[in-house]
Point group: C2
Chain length 386, copies 2
């Protein structure tokens, strides 16, 4: 079967784009990806749109048709995919399958979310839609609450500290300070994190990713054609995914690990024929600082329970065993829901091409991105190589 290569990536700056519509953002990201791949929109055969909630945020359904009109895409394969925060990687996987199965040779995958259409409380209401309506959202559940439970349990069981959580945020902000497209770029200290206002104990404001607007795009092609477009194709070696039927927090059997991620990672490593230690650089889904710790454990970068110490030792920093979130992570780069998984791919592509700026570039042959939905019960892992 065909290999699948990424030959172009593009992204808008992430942040608060009050002067741009969702379609404006998508157009900017797609324009950059097309230029990167040196390809015209007319050559696009497949179109995958990842967007979590255009219905609520833009009052716009049938988003794949809607965006196709503004992007000028006609395609013989097209769909929108959605799985809350993992929508972007679901989009990558759908595009990957379309190329792999020979449905198309050239597929555009676009992720977009424009959250600042609404006032603050309405944005949180829109986000609460991802939570089970009858069993959780009705009782006021929201994302920080759930991840705070993971953090509390991890601290109780393994002695993880608030300082270690803060170090995740500090590292990712330092990387973001060298990423002109990141939502937040001003460096912060551990004390800044610890002294930021409480959101849901033990998580403080700087333990939480922001609400961001943004769009990211990637162009996937049949590997045999990759060098027609670029001298530096990056190949998708594997995509592992797992959805576990523990959608409500009370059904999660273990709050100290992301079980679905362990399964997704195992599958991805097997497909790629590699071990966790072979990964040179990774982008993970740090929607909250505790998430990055759970993820580096579930991905096998360190042992279960050892994530806090692994961060504290600098193993996830440049020069460590596996630099993590060199793009700034969700915490600092931002998290326009449907775009995130695709932005992660773009950052890994930049690393594998050797095009990251000083202070962020890793000597990398194999990269990995990890993206989650819900309470980490829906997970995707993508493995890339030069």
């Amino acid at each position: 079967m065909a290999e699948v290569a990424i030959v172009g990536v593009g992204t808008t700056p992430y942040g608060r784009h009050l002067d741009k519509s969702a379609t404006d953002l998508a157009q900017l990201a797609v324009k950059e990806a097309l230029e990167d791949a040196n390809i015209s929109i007319k050559e696009i055969q497949g179109f995958v749109l990842s967007s979590q909630n255009p219905e609520i945020l833009q009052k716009q359904g049938n988003a794949v048709n809607h965006f196709s009109e503004f992007l000028g895409v006609s395609a013989k394969f097209a769909t929108r995919v959605e799985g809350a925060c993992v929508s972007g990687s679901m989009g990558l996987r759908t595009g990957y399958m379309a190329v792999k199965s020979g449905v198309v040779d050239v597929c555009l995958v676009v992720g977009v979310e424009k959250c600042y259409e609404l006032s603050g409380p309405d944005i949180m209401a829109a986000f609460s839609y991802v939570i089970d309506r009858d069993w959780e959202a009705a009782y006021g559940s929201n994302a920080p609450m759930g991840f705070a439970m993971f953090a509390t349990r991890h601290m109780h069981t393994y002695g993880t500290t608030e300082e270690q959580l803060a170090m995740v945020a500090v590292k990712n902000r330092r990387f973001a300070s060298k990423n002109p497209k990141a939502h937040f770029q001003k460096p912060i200290t551990v004390n800044d994190v610890l002294n930021s206002r409480p959101v849901c104990k033990p998580l403080k404001l700087l333990d939480c990713c922001p609400v961001s607007d943004g769009a990211s795009a990637a162009i996937l092609v049949n590997g045999d054609l990759a060098r027609k477009f670029t001298d530096t194709p990056v190949y998708i070696k594997a995509i592992g995914q797992h959805l576990i039927n523990e959608n409500v927090i009370s059904s999660i059997h273990d709050l100290t690990e992301f079980t679905a991620l362990k399964r997704a990672a195992k599958d991805a490593y097997k497909q790629a024929g590699i071990e966790p230690g072979d990964v040179d650089v990774a982008e993970v889904h740090d929607c909250f600082t505790i998430a990055e710790i759970l993820e580096i454990e579930a991905l096998g970068f360190c042992e279960k329970g050892g994530g806090g110490a692994f961060v504290e030792e600098g193993q996830t920093d440049i020069g460590g065993k596996v630099p993590v979130n060199t793009g700034g992570g969700l915490l600092s780069r931002g998290h326009p829901i449907g775009a995130t998984g695709i932005c992660q791919a773009g950052i890994i592509v930049q690393q594998l091409r050797g095009e990251a700026p000083e202070g962020r570039q890793v000597d990398a042959e194999i990269g990995l991105s990890q993206n989650l939905g819900g309470w980490g019960t829906s997970q995707a892992v993508v493995i890339y190589s030069r």
Copy 2:
């Protein structure tokens, strides 16, 4: 590459299910499909959910996670797909690609829509979300209006008559009278259609499909494994799709044809190595009577402009060249948006197995289903064989 077979199908009755939730409906359809395939939910490896608008209708996002909890699905591939009324066939294609590309061997595809959560005007508001917000919906555009424009133009250019439109509804209702799961089962006459109340000239009430609740499911497997599950596998020989960037009615270049469908059909026929004349039975997307006429033309069952006469001659009835909508069609079987494409597959499977009741059964080796989204500018065609 693997062939893809359908080994189990299931559907709820379509109608107004005030006593059931969306998850109740999905459970009923999935239970029937699992029993049909003689398979347990634990053997499901991939899960695709097709649903148009759970965000608005159920105030529930992240629907793939939500439904997985209620269905008891854990999967190594999972996504929700959405493309308005073509969501069901997008789901079939996504499941097809997942099996074809070797991502999974056994994939459950579920389509569901529960519309009667809201009062009438709110349902229409929810449906208006599929229409471009800024350019159409804001001016009160809705589905009957758009399809009435297609009808008016077709009547003007080709002399298609209101009686011919009515004959589509009458035929499909007769088939529905032998389908105990259809939304409307009481036979009607041409006069009933002509005398039903005007909706948008020239379309009357009985030219329009109803709003329905319902769920349908299909189980797709690697063709090599098909006979492990059933003695009567039905193979998906091809899926053609086309999305054309004419999402707003004012950008559609020709209102007398479904151009995207012509392209999707051409691709599907080529993949399957067949001609339109080889199709023995078809389910098409008759959201309005005019749609069925445009579709039989675009699918090549008759010449362009000849759809009205083709219906009048009985060529789409049992004994005609190609019986169409033997399940009752959207007009009478009903149209729970995300479920429709998957229900169509179930009806074709029933035909190819020879399990349709008398008065509906066709001697068929090759079947076809066609499903559309938006103003017919997003189209999918699936070709099946024994």
